[in-house]
């Protein structure tokens, strides 16, 4: 009896896993991706709550050792991606895996599959946007490659915009590493957060050359991709605002005046404070 039941049982158990991946509906595949992402998010929330409850540094250190490893969660999506790497669910999964994988081989494989199956898709613009605020060599190369290979002008505009953000972020990160504005503990924590690879890359950057190339890229966006939608406005508006900041709000420039009303409705100006050192603080509680 056993010899007959066992293969049957195995086959029954495997069907939902292997068979289902091929036939599962696109909605279910998307739900699957969302579910794995949520598992990681929940684990991170739980950790954060524990961290806040920790009484001292020693306890906090213990809690941080339990930090969920994003790479393990990313690996859970390989069966889904392998079954069909070409649909939207796979694109979403790959973009996420590329971002959070801690295993270099996984990261590379996810990046390659994303290019192989999705570089012509318009959705790759969202992937560029999701990488724009995490400066690293890999992310920069990714958006540069998208800008080069995409057949869509709008995507090229967004990839170029992401590149400007990444270069800006890299400059700021490089400045804060070398600027001496952090305490030694803050510095150590920040360097750990960046990781050895990114840290070495940041230290090698040529700040002047990058600032110049950002300006050129912004001018390119303002002329070639001005009408591409971005957030609440267009890339043209965003690029112009950034160029204004670059040219008029840099260290050494005279601050543009501000005229407005205070909490009591009384009008005043920033220039009323000429003759004093001013700390201008954009703040809010919302």
């Amino acid at each position: 009896m056993r010899t007959i039941i066992t293969p049957l049982l195995v086959a029954t158990l495997l069907t939902p896993i292997l068979g289902a991946q091929q036939q599962i509906s696109p909605d279910d595949r998307k739900a699957h991706v969302a579910c794995v992402k949520k598992e990681l998010a929940d684990a991170e929330t739980a950790l954060f709550e524990k961290y806040q409850k920790a009484k001292d540094d020693a306890e906090r250190e213990v809690v941080m050792k339990e930090r969920p490893d994003g790479g393990t969660f990313a690996k859970k999506l390989w069966p889904l991606v392998t079954a069909n790497p070409a649909d939207d669910a796979a694109a979403e999964a790959l973009a996420w895996m590329m971002r959070i994988s801690e295993d270099a081989a996984d990261k590379k494989k996810a990046t390659e599959l994303l290019f192989q199956h999705h570089v012509k898709s318009e959705a790759i613009a969202d992937v560029c946007a999701s990488l724009a605020y995490q400066p690293s060599k890999a992310n920069l190369e990714f958006v540069e490659r998208v800008a080069k290979e995409t057949p869509h002008d709008a995507v090229r505009g967004q990839a170029t915009w992401a590149k400007v953000q990444l270069l800006g972020g890299a400059l700021r990160a490089a400045e804060s590493i070398t600027g001496g504005a952090m305490t030694p503990e803050q510095q150590k924590g920040y360097e750990e957060y960046l990781g050895a690879g990114t840290l070495a890359w940041l230290k090698m950057l040529d700040g002047k050359a990058i600032a110049a190339s950002r300006e050129t890229l912004l001018e390119e966006i303002a002329t070639k991709f001005a009408d591409v939608k971005a957030g609440h406005g267009t890339l043209g508006e965003a690029a112009k605002a950034e160029l204004f900041e670059l040219r008029n709000l840099a260290i050494g420039k005279a601050a543009p005046d501000i005229v407005g009303k205070d909490a009591d409705g009384v009008q005043f100006k920033l220039s009323d404070y000429r003759g004093k050192v001013v700390l201008l603080d954009f703040w809010g509680e919302w």
Binding site: E245, A255, G260, D262, A263, S271, Y273, K276, L279, W286
Partner: protein, 100 residues
């Protein structure tokens, strides 16, 4: 942020220094917020998102901090805590030397 700013304002009360805010809360809520946080310095009530002022200054993250010298020239951007305080004191010291 507020405790540090409060102590800085108190410490530099007799110096040529001013903290000027640009607030991004709903305009009608600002008086209550200032009271609750014991904010004694003046802010532009710019409205949600920092309105036209934040737009003109291309502010996309909060808080964003600029330090201006006595001539209204931008001397630092986005320094925090000790580094921010150090810069302000440095500029005040430079002003004092210039006067002499």
């Amino acid at each position: 942020m507020f405790p540090h700013e409060r102590s800085l304002v108190a410490k530099l009360a007799d110096k040529p220094f001013a903290l000027v805010g640009v607030n991004s809360d709903p305009i009608e809520e600002l008086p209550a917020i200032q009271k609750k946080e014991q904010i004694t310095w003046r802010s532009f009530a710019a409205g949600p998102g920092g309105g036209e002022i934040a737009k003109a200054w291309n502010v996309r993250s909060w808080p964003t901090i600029y330090i201006l010298d006595e001539d209204g020239v931008i001397r630092a951007k986005n320094l925090r805590d000790e580094a921010m305080e150090k810069k302000v004191e440095e500029l005040l010291a430079a002003m004092a030397t210039k006067k002499k």
